[in-house]
Subunit: 156 residues, 2 copies
């Protein structure tokens, strides 16, 4: 879905931000890749192996900016597709039982969470970033739409 959304768009859209310190669609894709590698599945493994006895490693919210030099958006989309497919394949192969889904883990800031909540957050996190990507690109049109901006809540 992200591939069909973004691959053929010009950089003026995929590189757009909402101001200093905010993320472009390009940076969001790099963040999604980084989360596939360091967040969801590693934390699920910690829950299954150690339960709440081992606190998750903190997630690095700037981690996507490392090794980003020279990576084009199509390259990132290819990598995201690959790492996501690998993780979904691994997750399915785990055949988690209802009991395993209720196992606790310990988040460094939020405290006790369950494997089920972690997996739901994985999905909701995708959707939240699709909101962000679409909002950033919509706002790029704020001056171009002229009077119609008044009708578009996304511009506010």
């Amino acid at each position: 879905m992200l591939d069909s959304f973004l691959r053929d768009l010009p950089e003026v859209l995929t590189g757009a931000t909402e101001g200093p310190g905010t993320w472009s669609p390009y940076v969001v894709i790099a963040h999604l890749i980084f989360a596939e590698k360091t967040d969801w599945m590693p934390r699920l493994s910690i829950i299954l192996q150690h339960g709440a006895n081992r606190t998750f490693d903190p997630f690095d919210h700037e981690g996507q900016f490392r090794n980003l030099e020279g990576q084009s958006l199509p390259t990132l989309l290819d990598e995201f597709k690959l790492v996501r497919q690998e993780n979904v394949t691994r997750l399915r192969a785990m055949n988690l039982t209802p009991e395993q889904l209720e196992l606790n883990g310990r988040h460094p800031a939020l405290g006790l969470v369950t494997a089920r909540q972690l997996i739901a957050t994985w999905t909701a996190h995708d959707l939240g970033h699709i909101v962000q990507i679409s909002r950033v690109m919509a706002r790029r049109y704020k001056s171009e739409v002229g009077p119609w901006a008044a009708y578009q809540s996304v511009m506010k």
Copy 2:
């Protein structure tokens, strides 16, 4: 992009709303189809033929609810793809000049607008509704994500 996003999702997501009177992703797709048929290209034709002398017909914001009975989401996605492709083909064939893009039209509430602003709004309107679709589905996970809701601005 909407096809790869929505076609295979369960109705618990594509039929979800944000409360009474708000639109599900399913209704948004019907609205996008209705706008293809009655808004963008018809208004562009009015601008090119009549300029600001003929006010646009008001857009019916409930129009998508007519003839919706028995239409599945995949059927709507197929129809949207068809009408959008037809309109993009027609728009390209028009080969609009910079002068034509600056022609004025008259919006029933907003007053004078240009053909250029109309076409920019067509795109921004898509993006705004992708924001909406993603937000509606993300919020469906609000209770499932447990403590993580605190970290997801989309849940607020």
